[in-house]
């Protein structure tokens, strides 16, 4: 046990080193790509062809297999950003701020995908592509929060000020996450209640491909963040010796 916590501590410290991460992540990326490709290919085949048609919604139910994973990642991404903000502010780890910066545009993208597929799904099932319902509104606010974060971070000449200011904004905005999560439970509006992991709420033939897609989206999100993070490292550590050696 002591050994395990020691090795975790070491791993955590190594994660704080841009050099270590830059070199290691180059080795992780191919494996991550393979795993993502396999999961997404299998998941997409399963969900778009092999899973059953919904007796009420017909084929439009298949939008769910993109919509739900994107929605999950939009929230998890913000949460990860807020956690990075805390770690960066408390322990002053520069990698943490870099990760925070790397997550923001990816999170915004997934939020947009969630809103976009949601409105596509809304047309055949609800008869409207947009409704001011609690969950849609708070997801839209989440997109605005991401955009506000990106806008703030890119408005500084001084990078450390940008990091610290944006971290505070990320934390303040994190209040929205429990609101989105709870919105369908607290306000009984158009969007259906949470049912993904609830027993018996969703048929197993639909749940399995959904889980595969969620796992695939998580990996895709991780890959996109890692690529951005590597660029961020290259950008910030441009003057350091190890990076110049790696590039040349």
């Amino acid at each position: 046990m002591a050994n395990a916590s020691k090795s975790f501590g070491r791993w955590f410290h190594q994660l704080g080193s841009p050099k270590w991460f830059y070199q290691k992540s180059a080795k992780w990326l191919p494996w991550l790509w393979i795993a993502t490709a396999v999961l997404l290919a299998f998941g997409l085949y399963y969900s778009l062809f092999a899973s059953p048609v919904d007796y009420q919604q017909g084929n439009s139910v298949r939008i769910m297999y993109i919509h739900v994973p994107a929605a999950a990642l939009s929230m998890v991404g913000y949460l990860a950003m807020a956690i990075c903000a805390v770690i960066g502010m408390v322990w002053k780890m520069k990698m943490s701020f870099m990760a925070m910066r790397a997550i923001a545009p990816v999170g915004a993208l997934f939020t947009f995908i969630c809103l976009f597929t949601g409105s596509l799904w809304g047309i055949p099932t609800w008869g409207t592509w947009w409704e001011w319902d609690a969950r849609m509104t708070s997801e839209l606010v989440l997109l605005f929060l991401y955009l506000g974060f990106i806008a703030l971070h890119s408005s500084f000449n001084d990078r450390s000020k940008a990091d610290n200011a944006a971290a505070i904004l990320a934390l303040v905005g994190a209040i929205n996450i429990p609101i989105i999560y709870g919105s369908v439970k607290w306000w009984n509006t158009l969007h259906q209640a949470y049912s993904v992991t609830k027993k018996g709420a969703i048929a197993p033939e639909m749940q399995t491909p959904l889980f595969i897609m969620i796992a695939g989206f998580y990996l895709l999100f991780a890959i996109m963040v890692i690529i951005r993070l590597r660029l961020e490292i290259m950008n910030r550590e441009a003057k350091s010796k190890w990076l110049q050696e790696v590039i040349s």
């Binding site: 605005f144 703030l152 408005s155 001084d158 904004l169």
Partner: protein
């Protein structure tokens, strides 16, 4: 210490009294545009009054933030203030002064706007309605939250190379909950249903913000001068 800081802010505000009147003019003018743009009919105006007054109040709080922070940052007195007192105290004194000087006058001015928007209109002239009083209550609980949240956005953008629009883009998403419940209070009053629950939520948001935001705003001020 807090009293000293507050006194300083209020004194500065008094010397800049025209700057304080501008948000109020703005508030009145924005609201009075709606009858021209939409429709001057009383029944119709009454329906949109709540939202219009709330959005106008929100924008004028947002636009008046600048004078409480910008000059202090530019002439270096913010740095001195942060040496003198804790960042939380400095932030809270600025928020309090901001609310006393713009938020409170907005609340006091709102009955005039309610009149312009025919908020108290009733098809039966003999029935008196209390919608205006309800609207004042909702603004009384809502404007302090606007000042508190605005303080974070303003402090964060102080050291940024572009500002103005930036504050709005950061803070407007955070204003959505109070806007929803604030105008829900008036809508509930218009339909003669209970509005205490919505008022209570506005009050709860205010208390929550009062505890947490001065700390965050103080941190942000500290980042700006670091």
């Amino acid at each position: 210490m807090f009293a000293t800081l507050l006194k300083r802010e209020l004194m500065l505000a008094r010397r800049n009294w025209v700057g304080i009147l501008i948000p109020l003019f703005f508030f009145v003018m924005v609201v009075s545009l709606f009858p021209f743009a939409v429709s001057p009919e009383a029944e119709f105006l009454q329906q949109i009054a709540a939202g219009v007054v709330w959005v106008a109040a929100l924008l004028s709080v947002l636009l008046s933030l600048d004078m409480f922070y910008r000059s202090d940052y530019q002439d270096g007195s913010l740095e001195q203030l942060l040496i003198m007192a804790s960042p939380t105290q400095v932030a809270l004194s600025k928020v309090t002064a901001h609310w006393l000087v713009t938020g409170l006058p907005l609340v006091l001015m709102s009955p005039v706007l309610a009149g312009l928007m025919h908020l108290n209109y009733s098809p039966d002239a003999n029935v008196a309605t209390s919608h205006t009083a309800v609207m004042m209550l909702s603004l009384l609980l809502g404007t302090p939250t606007m000042c508190l949240l605005g303080a974070i956005g303003m402090s964060l953008s102080l050291a940024a190379s572009r500002n103005g629009m930036l504050v709005a883009v950061m803070i407007l998403p955070l204003y959505v909950p109070i806007l929803i419940f604030g105008s829900a209070v008036i809508t509930a009053s218009l339909t003669n249903s209970g509005y205490n629950a919505q008022l209570a939520i506005l009050g709860a948001i205010l208390l929550f913000a009062l505890v947490l935001t001065p700390f965050a705003a103080g941190r942000a001020l500290k980042v700006a001068v670091s």
